[in-house]
Symmetry: C2
C-alpha cells in the first residue's frame, strides 16, 4: 500500500526483530548489537521504521512489529530460508556458511523468483537450521521447542532448530555436530550460568549458555 521497496538495511532490522522472536523483547540496544551498529544508528532506523508504520517504539518500553512489519519481516525470512534450502540442498554449500550467503541473496529477490524458487524446492517448511519458512503471506508458527539452556540435566532430546546466525557460531556448532535432527544428551550444567556438558553422537563437550540459548530442542521420553 505504501512502500514498494524496502532498503536492505530496513529489511535487516525487521528480520532481526522477527528472528529474536517474542521470547526476548526487542530493544534498541539488542538490535544494535545484533546488527553490529551503534545504538544511535539503530535508534535512527527504528524511528524511521516507526514513521513508516512497520514497528512501534515505546521509549524505554520496547519495540514491537506492527502487523505490516510482521508481514514484511515474514517475507524477508521466507526469502532468506528458501535460499538457505537451495544453497544447502542443491549447491551443497557448507552448512555454517549457508545463512550468510542466503542473507546476501534475500534482499535481491523479486517476488516471482521467490515463489518460483519455493516451487522448485518443493515448498519446504523448514530451513537447514530447522527454522520454519513463512508462508507467502509472511505468517509462520514458531518452532515448538525449548531452548537447550533451559533443559534439565540428564535429558535426552532431539535438536529441532538453531537460531544462531553468526557464521562463526554456526561453524562452532557444525564442528560439534550440533545440527537439526541430531540427538543430544545434557550431561551436566555448571553453576552460575556456567557451561553445559553435552553428548552428541557419543562425543562429550562443553557449550556456553549463550549458545545454548540459540538451540531449540524437543525432550525425548527417557528409554
Amino acid at each position: 500500500m505504501s512502500d514498494k521497496h524496502m532498503s536492505r538495511s530496513a529489511e535487516m532490522y525487521l528480520k532481526a526483530m522477527a528472528e529474536m522472536g517474542p521470547r526476548q523483547a526487542a530493544t534498541v540496544s539488542r538490535l544494535a548489537e545484533r546488527l553490529s551498529v551503534t545504538q544511535v544508528s539503530a535508534n535512527e532506523m527504528v524511528r524511521r521504521l516507526d514513521e513508516q508504520g512497520l514497528v512501534t517504539h515505546k521509549p524505554y518500553k520496547g519495540i514491537s512489529l506492527t502487523l505490516k512489519g510482521r508481514q514484511a519481516a515474514g517475507n524477508v525470512l521466507r526469502r532468506q530460508r528458501l535460499w538457505e534450502c537451495f544453497l544447502y540442498d542443491h549447491l551443497h554449500i557448507e552448512w555454517a556458511h549457508v545463512y550468510e550467503f542466503a542473507c546476501l541473496l534475500e534482499h535481491a529477490t523479486a517476488p516471482e523468483v521467490t515463489e518460483a524458487l519455493a516451487e522448485f524446492l518443493g515448498n519446504p517448511t523448514t530451513c537447514p537450521r530447522g527454522n520454519p519458512i513463512p508462508a507467502t503471506d509472511g505468517t509462520f508458527s514458531p518452532v515448538d521447542g525449548i531452548p537447550l539452556s533451559s533443559a534439565a540435566v540428564g535429558v535426552r532430546a532431539r535438536l529441532l532448530a538453531v537460531t544462531a546466525t553468526d557464521t562463526e557460531v554456526l561453524k562452532y556448532l557444525q564442528d560439534r555436530h550440533l545440527l537439526p535432527g541430531r540427538e543430544v544428551i545434557l550431561r551436566e550444567s555448571a553453576p552460575m550460568q556456567g557451561p553445559l556438558t553435552l553428548e552428541v553422537e557419543g562425543r562429550e563437550f562443553a557449550l556456553g549458555m549463550n549458545m545454548a540459548e540459540m538451540i531449540l530442542i524437543q525432550p525425548l521420553a527417557s528409554h
Copy 2:
C-alpha cells in the same frame, strides 16, 4: 589486491561497458543513457572507476576497461548469466524477465555461490539470451555473429544471441519468437535506416534498426 567489494553501482557501470562490447566505443553519454542516469552522474562514477584503475577515461576520446576492470566486469557477467540460466532452466521464469531478475541477484552473490551454481548448472557456456558465460577468470570470447542490422536482404540466418537487456525490448522480441536458435529470414530492408521485415516461423513482421542491432545472427547457406 585493492578492493574487496565493489559497489552495486560500480558493478553496473563495468558490466554495461563489457556488454556494449568493443563494437561501440564506450562514452560517458552512452553509459549514462544505458544506466538511466544523468551524464554528470556517469561522469562522476567514471572518474571514480578511473581512480581505482578499473577504466581509463581519455576526455573526448572514450572510456576503456583496464585489465583489472575487464576481469571485474567479466566476473559480474559470469554471475549475471549463470543466474539467468538458473532462472530460466530451473525456475521457469519468463524469458523476457530473466535478465532483470538475474541482475538483482548478481550483486549479491558470493564467489563460492557463483562456482557452486556453475557446477549445479553443468558449467553452461551461454545464457538464455545466447551470450557467452565468462570463465572463472572473467575472460570470454564474443559471440561469433553479425548484427541483424547489417545483414543482406534475402539472407536466411540462425539467431545466435540477443544483447538487449531492457525487459520491454526483450518482451517485444519474445512475443515475436526472436529467440536464440530460431531461424530468421530477412525479407526486406526499408531505406533510410527504416525497419526490417523479418520472417520467423512463418510469420512476417517489421523490426526497427535499433533493435536489429541488438540481435546477432549467423547467416545460413542458402538451400
